[in-house]
């Protein structure tokens, strides 16, 4: 059961070995989380993340291995993870994603398709099952890693940001469908975050570390806002950017 600050006890994280997921997990465990189930692709990284969760106070951890390029496993993966919790699930985090390499993705049908599969199709398939289970339970919270890039797709990363845009809008619909049910979906929209996924990426303004994102997530859980921006100022920056005329937008983004 989560407390009045939105701090959960039982957590399931898909994409649990990502740097941002690990930073969030640490903070959750330092607060109230005692059961943490981490799902992802790489067993070694997941075990390391689970150990880290224990160091920060988790008393029960386990891992689930899955491959996000195959959406047919989404339902099974969710059901395995929930089973391992063995209790009510308070918070589900979807941190599954792939940044890709724009120059290579945009010229390859297979890679373009895979980008959409990993960033949209698998998460959305999983969300259908997560939604069913939390609704049956009558409570729970879902946090979906979107991106600030989802708000306005730009040329230099259109496969990734376009995929995130799809996920983001779809989640907006899920969030509405959950109103009044006791289940809540919150979107996380960070700017570029310095992680192993973004090594070599240019650092645009508002780039932060994973720890700062995790702090904003903790605040967002307490405040119940539909969208958690990181850094929070982006809410206003993107309010302006999303309404810029196209030629101006291109100018701003093609620095």
């Amino acid at each position: 059961m989560e407390n009045a600050f939105g701090q959960p006890q039982n957590v399931v994280i898909f994409g649990g070995s990502s740097d941002i997921a690990r930073a969030i997990t640490k903070k959750l465990c330092a607060a109230r989380a005692h059961t943490v189930i981490l799902a992802g692709r790489n067993q070694e990284l997941l075990n390391a993340a689970a150990l880290e969760a224990q160091e920060y106070g988790a008393t029960k951890t386990d891992i689930v291995i899955f491959d996000a390029t195959d959406p047919s496993n989404a339902e099974r993966t969710v059901s395995q993870a929930f089973k391992k919790v063995g209790d009510q699930v308070d918070l589900v985090i979807i941190a599954v994603g792939q940044l890709g390499v724009q120059a290579e993705d945009q010229v390859s049908a297979a890679r373009s398709a895979e980008m959409i599969t990993v960033n949209v199709t698998w998460p959305v398939a999983a969300l259908a099952e997560i939604r069913n289970r939390l609704l049956a339970q009558g409570s729970g919270r879902i946090l979906v890693m979107s991106s600030a890039a989802a708000i306005r797709v730009r040329e230099s990363s259109y496969v990734y940001s376009g995929a995130k845009a799809g996920l983001d809008r779809l989640c907006g619909g899920i969030a509405q469908s959950l109103e009044g049910t006791g289940v809540k979906l919150q979107l996380l929209r960070p700017a570029v975050v310095r992680t192993k996924m973004t090594v070599g990426v240019d650092e645009p303004p508002f780039t932060t570390g994973a720890n700062e994102v995790a702090e904003n997530v903790m605040r967002g859980l307490a405040s119940n806002s539909d969208v958690i921006w990181s850094p929070p100022l982006l809410r206003y920056v993107f309010f302006v950017l999303r309404h810029l005329p196209a030629p101006l937008w291109r100018k701003v983004t093609n620095r």
Partner: protein, 286 residues
């Protein structure tokens, strides 16, 4: 009583009532510039009154830390009050028309409110006639006051410590005032002994109740610190108001928890009755 609704359904209640002659209270009010003086006034003088409550300012630091307004009263008899009669509660004078934006109640606005509350209270007033509702429920003078907290709402925190541990009340208020989290006037009272139930909250001593707007980043950590101070003073936090306690602390606060669990497993062996509180604080075991 005192089983947090986990052992069954109340099907019949016998209440002992107190007969009163009027709907008025005779109230004495005193203003104190610091916490020590109000606590010693309560220790020595509360026995003369049926009801006693101190409103403590938890935001002022320094020499005036914990300044307070002490109101104590007895039911007025018909002879006490001219033209006195029994009348229903009055309608609130002020109504909050809609939910305020979150963050309206921050440390600046709350500090200003506390200042106003303190300054407008009489320094020393005797035998003032007050209605039952304004004496017992001063907040209800503002209808919908909860909407002031905005969407994020607020948490309540109430603890009690034994008489000998009165210093913990001082330490708690110091911790709160130094942390600068917004806290409305806290309510300080003296407690008598609890009932025989294993999870009974009261114990002879002091109890402090706080209303805290959710939003300050420091708040969850500050309240965790308060838990530790309360446990160290062999006190406990009130389940009925709790929304964030840790299961680990509950055993220390309620040493008779296992007794309660034994009753629970006897009367409800299949754990048919449970609650969010029970799940969060592990009250019925796994």
């Amino acid at each position: 009583m005192g089983a947090m609704g986990l052992t069954g359904v109340v099907t019949s209640v016998t209440l002992q009532m107190l007969a009163i002659e009027t709907s008025q209270m005779l109230v004495d009010t005193d203003r104190f510039g610091d916490l020590d003086s109000v606590m010693s006034a309560m220790s020595s003088g509360d026995d003369d009154y049926r009801y006693s409550v101190a409103w403590v300012d938890c935001m002022t630091r320094g020499a005036h830390m914990g300044r307070a307004i002490l109101t104590r009263g007895n039911h007025a008899s018909a002879a006490d009050v001219k033209k006195a009669a029994l009348s229903g509660p009055r309608k609130p004078r002020l109504t909050i028309p809609f939910q305020a934006p979150s963050g309206l109640l921050n440390r600046y606005s709350v500090r200003a409110f506390n200042e106003l509350w303190f300054r407008t209270a009489p320094r020393h007033e005797l035998d003032e006639a007050q209605s039952l509702s304004s004496f017992f429920y001063p907040l209800d003078g503002v209808a919908g006051w909860n909407l002031l907290y905005g969407k994020r709402g607020f948490v309540q925190y109430q603890f009690c410590v034994p008489d000998a541990m009165g210093d913990t009340v001082v330490d708690v208020i110091r911790r709160l005032s130094e942390s600068r989290v917004a806290s409305f006037l806290a309510v300080l009272k003296r407690f008598g002994p609890g009932n025989p139930s294993p999870l009974s909250f009261p114990l002879s001593g002091w109890t402090l109740a706080l209303d805290l707007p959710v939003g300050a980043d420091a708040l969850p950590g500050v309240l965790d610190d308060l838990d530790e101070m309360v446990v160290a003073a062999t006190g406990r936090v009130y389940f009925a108001k709790d929304a964030r306690l840790q299961a680990d602390q509950v055993r220390a606060m309620y040493p008779r928890l296992d007794e309660f669990r034994a009753v629970k497993s006897r009367v409800d062996p299949d754990d048919q009755l449970t609650s969010d509180l029970a799940r969060r604080l592990d009250l019925v075991g796994k």
